[in-house]
């Protein structure tokens, strides 16, 4: 005769089933998560109007290339800016303090600062406030260097520099290219060719691209 | 020698028993049916009737009853052991004894002798007539009268009554009575005694009262009286 017994194995199986069902409960409370993406970033108008500032591209403490706005004062500049950019060489870019420039009003603000002034300001290095925030130039960019002239108007902006451009690191070149590009074009959408004492570099575009803002 | 009327339907049994008894010196008449036996009764005038219980048409019990209507002829039934009910019915109908078939002639002969003996050898050492209450027993004449009226008793009934009344108030076991009255062995069928007592009571006792002459002693047997 075969006897039907309640085998221990079956009991174990049932216990396992029960434990499985209760498993979700074992992680009670709030669990940690990994880093999760959550939509678009904050987008705002942080920069002063284009006519009153230049965008200088410095290296952040984290090694990133960042656009740093610097306020400029040029009460004398009104209507003098001609197509010939060489006159801009005497432009004064305020470097000692980044703020407190007298607000410019009216049609005086309609023209941005010429690229030569921006590049010159970049080569001069970050000012005191910018240095306090940790910004700096790439080491290969010599403080003593200066820009001769910048030719705009074509699809390519040509920046003539009194230095050896081939010795510049990629970071240093990007600083120059971006600063020149954003000075020559509102959204930096031009290619820049660096020309130095030792030759000419191929035209390049700024790696910090202005992107279309995601819709809300 | 006794004259025996044999009523038996089976030819071989009839012939065998007839032959055996005749060799013993009995005068035997054999009949094949109950009717033929009753007819032969008047002409043959037998001393004893040897009656097979199982007969075609009129059976042994009926023949027994018919004979007892006007005769106290000794009757021995031939029967097969195991036909217990038939034995009781036959005994109640008035048979004095029974023999189980098959039986040797010497057994049949012994039974016939026993049944006939008491009648042929009366005890005459006693007063002619004894009076027991309303019952007069003539031991010499083998007659019994109750309140003056003669009572017809079959041989076994008469022998039982004589045996019991010879020693009034003495208890006889049924085995004892079987041996004394019927010449049966100790272990024979006590129903023989019981049936005989039943028949005797019907004839001599007052039917409205409990038995007076033949009394039962529970667990021991029967006794005569006390009156």
């Amino acid at each position: 005769m075969r006897e039907l017994t309640f085998r221990p194995r079956r009991t174990a199986r049932l216990a396992a089933l029960l434990a499985l069902a209760g498993a979700p409960l074992t992680g009670c409370g709030i669990q940690e998560t990994a880093v999760v993406e959550a939509g678009r970033p904050v987008v705002a108008d942080l920069l002063p109007p284009r006519e009153g500032r230049v965008l200088l591209f410095f290296i952040s403490p984290d090694g990133e290339l960042l656009p740093v706005p610097r306020i400029v004062e040029r009460p004398w500049l009104s209507g003098t800016a001609g197509p010939d950019g060489s006159s801009a060489g005497s432009d004064v870019v305020r470097g000692e303090d980044g703020r407190g420039g007298t607000p410019l009003t009216g049609e005086e603000m309609s023209e941005p600062l010429p690229p030569l002034a921006a590049v010159t300001a970049l080569l001069a290095g970050p000012d005191k406030a910018e240095r306090r925030a940790g910004f700096r130039n790439a080491p290969s960019l010599p403080r003593t260097a200066s820009a001769d002239r910048i030719v705009t108007g074509g699809p390519t902006v040509e920046v003539n520099l009194k230095l050896r451009v081939t010795r510049l690191t990629a970071r240093a070149r990007d600083q120059l290219v971006c600063t020149a590009a954003y000075a020559a074009h509102a959204q930096g959408a031009v290619s820049v060719s660096l020309v130095g004492q030792d030759g000419r570099l191929a035209p390049a575009e700024c790696p910090v691209r202005a992107v279309r803002v995601p819709a809300r | 020698m006794p004259r025996v009327l044999l009523v038996e339907d089976d030819p071989s049994v009839r012939e065998g028993v007839e032959l055996g008894l005749r060799r013993c010196g009995h005068d035997v008449l054999a009949a094949a049916t109950g009717e033929a036996g009753l007819e032969a009764l008047c002409a043959f005038r037998p001393d004893l009737l040897l009656l097979d219980l199982m007969l075609p048409a009129m059976d042994g019990v009926q023949v027994c009853c018919r004979v007892r209507e006007n005769s106290q002829l000794p009757i021995i039934m031939l029967t097969a052991l195991g036909d217990d009910v038939d034995i009781v019915v036959g005994l109640d109908a008035g048979a004095d004894d029974y023999i189980v078939k098959p039986a040797r002639t010497e057994v049949i002969e012994a039974r016939i002798r026993a049944v006939l003996r008491g009648i042929e050898a009366p005890n005459d050492a006693r007063p002619a007539v004894e009076h027991h209450g309303g019952l007069d027993i003539d031991r010499a004449g083998h007659t019994v009268s109750r309140s003056g009226d003669p009572v017809a008793l079959a041989p076994s009934e008469l022998k039982l009554l004589l045996h019991l009344s010879a020693a009034p108030e003495q208890v006889f076991s049924r085995q004892r009575l079987l041996a004394d009255v019927w010449d049966h062995s100790y272990y024979s069928d006590v129903r023989l005694v019981d049936a005989c007592v039943r028949r005797l009571r019907i004839k001599i006792e007052d039917p409205s009262r409990s038995p007076r002459y033949i009394q039962t002693v529970r667990g021991l047997g029967y006794r005569f009286g006390p009156l």
């Binding site: 009991t11 709030i30 678009r40 904050v42 960042l66 | 098959p102 100790y186 272990y187 529970r218 006390p226």
Partner: protein, 505 residues
Amino acid sequence: MPTAASAFGLRTRLVLAFLLVAAVSAVTTAALTYREARSAVLVRAQDTAVASFREEAERFVPSLPLDPESLRWNLYDIAARAKPHPWIVFAEYGSLRASSGDRPVSGVLTAELRRTAHTSPHGTFERVVKDGKAYLTIGMPVMTRVVAGGRAVPSGLVLFAVMPMTNEEVDIDALVTAARDGALPGLAVALVPALLAARSVLRPVRELRRAAHSMGGGQLDTRIAVRGRDEMAALASTFNESAARLEHSVQELQDAGTRARRFASDVSHELRTPLAGMLAVTDVLDEDAGTLDPDTARAVRLISAETGKLAMLVEDLMEISRFDARAVSLVTDEVDAAEAVRSTLSGRQWLDRIRTELPEGFRIRLDPRRFDVIVANLVGNALRHGAEPVTVRLSKRGGALIVEVHDNGPGIAPDALPHIFDRFYKADAARARSSGSGLGLAITEENVRLHGGTIHARNAPGGGALFTVELPFEGPASASGAPDGPLPAQASEPPDSRDGNGATA
């Protein structure tokens, strides 16, 4: 090996199984519900926090170049509009650090979140558990449009919010409590249908057991009502079919047995009539044999002797047939045992051959004719197969009379002992054709059983076979269960009177 579970009854196991299923489903449901609810609570809190943080940051973001002093005020503004719970806002710009709280940097923010916020163009969040408390940390890089309404570039400014999730923890703990408090009463409620279901399953089982018990007790016509079409119904109909087949088989066996017994009885009956005729003339043959030719005389004497034996055999067969057909009756009387034994011995002229120890005074209720058969068969057997002296001894043990018949022969072979009361069993092959019918001991045993007694055969310690019969003094009625079947064991007292009333003065 009995397991712990098999120690429980079927009902307990059924109820436990039901409860187990109920528990599994309750726990599973509670667990899944809890997960969903917890997830919903957290997602809502997170989505609200991320969206409102982005919104407030866009409203109150400081302009560049950064002024560290005014930056703090901006952060205060954002922190003041925390939703759904208060948060602390941190800002990183270059190496500048600022916050709306006591310390400019947070210990909750992970390096992973900070790195992602600095490099990814998306908002990000991370749940952090620190010191047992859960926090939601959100990282928001700030992009600035280059010109109003135009395209945007990363500004280098990153804002963080750290929000403790105290309320969510409370809510989720409440969920666990609710699930637990709901599951336990649910199990208790499940006990009721479990018991009901167990009962409905067990009722047919109980019926089946009762029916099987009834079958075992001989009620072969027992059947079970088949209800429904489930497994129990199938079992019931199988039981019914088996019972019907069993009943049929038993009936056939009984019929066959009855036919066999009736045949034996009929044969005996038919043999008896010719035997009656033959037996009546054997005396004639014996007497006249002396006058015949010697060969004829031997033949005639043989026929005479064998006819006698044949008659005995037929009588014994008839007796056995009556026992088989249960057509035997006891005609009991109260007798003296010693007297009865003496009558048997003297009736067969054995008194001077047999030693007896017959104490007087053993009154016993029995059938004298059958007792005679018992004693005569045992003594006859001892005389035939044993050796003299044969002793018959009466004694008393408890409520029973002991009759012992002992001979001084070689005894009974051990392998023959169990069969000594079988019909036609011949213990001694050499004497296979003995003078007995071969039924004597079988009839003896039947007669003893009819009296409610017992009979045993064994070899006495001093040698010789010893047969012991025990008969209850009070007759067969006092012995419990001795005669099986409906035996008409009628005690025939001497009839008191026609009126049936005893007149023992």
